[in-house]
């Protein structure tokens, strides 16, 4: 199958006919996997197909989808007409022998509905809707996609089924609903939010962890986009994010990213720092999520600076990051030198980028750090220095201001010094020997704890084969799945879609 794909990718134009056929075949193949879930109730088959979907995504065409829908859905199906309407406006693209072909598909594709009529099963149906969403998004029909979501996906698919096996697909469907909403530029139109909250309630009751996590992340995102920080904080206080064993790690990464942003805005920098590090660690390190990583690293940099740390030079030289981190590089440089003029000019030069990243308000707060670092550098260099000299070095307006700032820096623990007011100088206290304090031990303890935690999490994350009596064929299949779970980066393309 993989080799098949390669061929398609390299020569898509030349063999349109075979290409389109093979896409249909491939989708059918995926659907077979999906329908295995219907029979075995093991959601890993859906999970596997969703993974493979990302490679197939680029080759989805209008005709393929039309053929697929015509093939799969019986004439009596209520889903058929709306689907076709959004794919190609109901143009007649009848497939011959559809009826006979349908007979050949596995029974698991279909289910009996109320009045003895047959319709496609929930899994297959949801999956096809997801395909249509992808197609509409990739072909830039965002308006269309939005209408499709509001008219078809939410009322007729998401609210219709109640199968536990659909969780993963539902999460994906929601992802593209929100994506379309945002692309339309209606960030302040919060109608979709109430819909999400409603569905979150259902998902929580059903223990549908993946969808729950997806919705929590998106509601948080939408709050942050409209700047309703208090509301976001309240929301986070009320909901419980599913544990790390129940959701895919990219989702967790995104969740931590937003949490970090929230804490940073609320001036809780150390918590924000923990979250953003967690986000960067959890994010899969693949090409598709570079955008996310860039964004996370920008936030990380801003938070570090706010905490009074200067990121190392190698931080800015990371692969694929250099250019996007440039504004932050200049900011850090100004902070490091303690040069207010440089800082002001850096802020005004890069205002546009910073606003775009949503970090502008955070960076403006850095002004006080610039002064503090300036004072710190001076206090490290001189044992004793007059206030007037500091005033000149930092280009501040009066000695009294300097005195206030120095005393503030002392209170914040930036420097260890005492001011002698009568003679107008500051004198650094004796430098403490770090190894005489508890600090090394604390750090040591922190690291050991982290390693232990890592170990525990690894043990928990491992998947053990179920015992005994299984036929060989099946266990081989399982092995293959296990391998893939190890890589565990299900929707990396989601992260890629975002930035």
């Amino acid at each position: 199958m993989t080799s098949d794909l390669m061929e398609v990718d390299s020569a898509p134009q030349t063999e349109v006919k075979t290409d389109s056929e093979s896409t249909v075949d491939k989708v059918l193949h995926l659907l077979q996997d999906v329908s295995k879930t219907t029979t075995t109730l093991d959601s890993r088959f859906v999970w596997k197909s969703l993974r493979e979907l990302s490679t197939l995504r680029s080759s989805l065409e209008k005709e393929d989808l039309a053929v697929l829908v015509n093939l799969l859905y019986p004439e009596s199906s209520t889903f058929k007409v709306p689907l076709l309407k959004f794919i190609n406006n109901n143009q007649k693209s009848k497939v011959d022998n559809a009826e006979e072909q349908r007979q050949q598909y596995p029974a698991a594709f279909y289910q009996l509905t109320g009045g003895n009529s047959v319709d496609v099963s929930g899994e297959v149906n949801s999956f096809l809707h997801l395909l249509v969403q992808l197609y509409l998004l990739d072909s830039n029909q965002v308006d269309h996609l939005k209408v499709f979501n509001l008219q078809v996906v939410i009322p007729k698919v998401l609210n219709f089924y109640n199968n536990r096996t659909l969780d993963l697909i539902n999460a994906k469907l929601w992802f593209y609903i929100c994506r379309a909403h945002e692309l339309r530029g209606d960030a302040f139109d919060t109608s979709i939010r109430s819909e999400m909250v409603k569905f979150l309630k259902t998902a929580t009751l059903k223990h549908d962890n993946e969808t729950r996590a997806m919705l929590i992340t998106f509601i948080l995102r939408s709050f942050l986009q409209t700047g309703e920080v208090d509301a976001a904080a309240d929301f986070i206080g009320k909901v419980e994010f599913p544990g790390s064993n129940d959701v895919s790690s990219p989702l967790e990464a995104r969740y931590y990213f937003y949490l970090s942003k929230l804490s940073a805005i609320q001036l809780d920098y150390s918590t924000a720092n923990e979250y953003v590090i967690a986000a960067i660690r959890k994010a899969p390190n693949t090409k598709k999520c570079i955008g996310f990583l860039q964004q996370a690293n920008k936030l990380h940099c801003a938070i570090e600076l706010l905490m009074g740390d200067i990121p190392e030079l190698s931080f800015f030289k990371q692969k694929n990051m250099e250019r996007s981190l440039l504004p932050y590089y200049h900011l850090s440089k100004a902070v490091k030198l303690g040069d207010l003029n440089k800082f002001t000019s850096a802020i005004s030069t890069y205002k546009k980028e910073l606003v775009h990243d949503g970090n502008y308000q955070l960076c403006v707060r850095l002004r006080s750090s610039v002064i503090k670092t300036g004072i710190r550098i001076i206090s490290l260099t001189y044992k004793k220095i007059s206030l007037k000299d500091i005033c000149l070095k930092l280009r501040l307006d009066s000695e009294q201001t300097v005195e206030y700032m120095v005393s503030r820096a002392i209170r914040d623990g930036v420097i260890e010094a005492k001011i002698n007011h009568e003679e107008g100088y500051i004198e650094s206290s004796e430098l403490l020997n770090v190894y005489a304090t508890q600090q090394p031990q604390q750090l040591f303890d922190e690291r050991i704890r982290f390693v232990n935690q890592l170990h525990d999490e690894c043990v928990k994350a491992m998947r053990y084969p179920e015992d005994g009596n299984k036929d060989k064929n099946k266990s081989a299949d399982h092995d293959q799945l296990d391998e893939m779970i190890d890589i565990s980066d299900l929707d990396e393309d989601d992260l890629g879609d975002f930035y």
Binding site: Y404, V406, K418, E422, N452
Partner: protein, 265 residues
């Protein structure tokens, strides 16, 4: 029973004449009338279609603005917060004619100052984030720049500048309501810095640092903070941090590591 129109009219005149107490009296019946005609909590879909309703909403907004300013004049900050949260719905409704108001940035700035005077910096920054998304350049607005500047100078320690700004009696009379509380906040900050930054300091200098007029006030402030005053000098004692449980914690940690290690092996 007077109608809503009459009530609003008399409220307006009372406000223009600066008659706070009668404003206060008129406000509650007006609010009740507003609720009766569904104007206190606006219905935006209706406002977009119905021109008359939109006009009425603008009147309601005006009433709320008067209410907010009145409660501020009476130094009733809780009432101000209530009015402001109701006004916020109007200001950020997304309907241009409703959102625009001459008093908008003034009232927002007042709210920011209120947050500052309460020392609620977290909420202040959350609010800035919210405003930054909607209003664009905050620093250039004549009203909004005022609280932003005060906050900035407080954060970086330019108390002199913040003090001067507060001292210079801003043009907007409502801003001056907060001057006293903010000045107290500044003194508090300086006091906290001072006790850590100096070994001892003559009372005379403390007076200058804290912007006090007389040494008597200074002494009172010093005593309130628990500073020792002796011979015209204030002496700041350094507190010794006790660390008793230090020893036991190492043992505990070592045991903890051992247990973890055993579970791994």
């Amino acid at each position: 029973m007077p109608t809503l129109l009459e009530l609003v009219k008399s409220l307006n005149t009372a406000f223009v004449n600066g008659d706070n107490s009668s404003c206060q009296k008129l406000l509650s019946p007006v609010k009740i009338e507003l609720i009766k005609s569904h104007l206190l909590v606006p219905d935006f879909s209706k406002a977009q279609e119905n021109e008359r309703y939109l006009e009425d909403l603008n009147v309601a907004k005006r009433v709320l603005e008067i209410g907010a300013l009145c409660s501020l004049r009476n130094a009733d900050f809780e009432a101000y917060e209530n009015f402001f949260s109701q006004l916020r719905v109007f200001y950020f409704s997304g309907i241009p004619r409703l959102a625009e108001s001459e008093n908008k940035s003034k009232l927002i700035s007042l709210y920011l100052l209120l947050l500052l005077s309460q020392g609620d910096v977290t909420k202040f920054h959350s609010e800035l984030e919210f405003l930054g998304k909607r209003l664009g350049s905050l620093e250039e607005d004549a009203f909004l720049s005022y609280p932003i500047k005060v906050e900035k100078w407080l954060m970086e320690g330019s108390y002199q500048r913040a003090w001067d700004l507060l001292k210079s009696e801003s043009k907007i009379e409502e801003f001056n309501v907060f001057t006293q509380t903010l000045m107290d906040a500044i003194r508090e900050e300086i006091g906290r810095n001072t006790e850590l930054a100096y070994h001892k300091l003559p009372l005379f200098n403390v007076k200058a640092l804290l912007f006090f007029e007389s040494e008597k006030d200074t002494e009172q402030f010093a005593l309130a903070r628990g500073w020792k005053v002796s011979g015209g000098c204030i002496v700041f004692d350094e507190e010794e941090v006790a660390d008793d449980h230090h020893q036991t914690s190492i043992v505990e940690k070592a045991l903890d590591y051992a247990i973890n290690l055993e579970s791994i092996v």
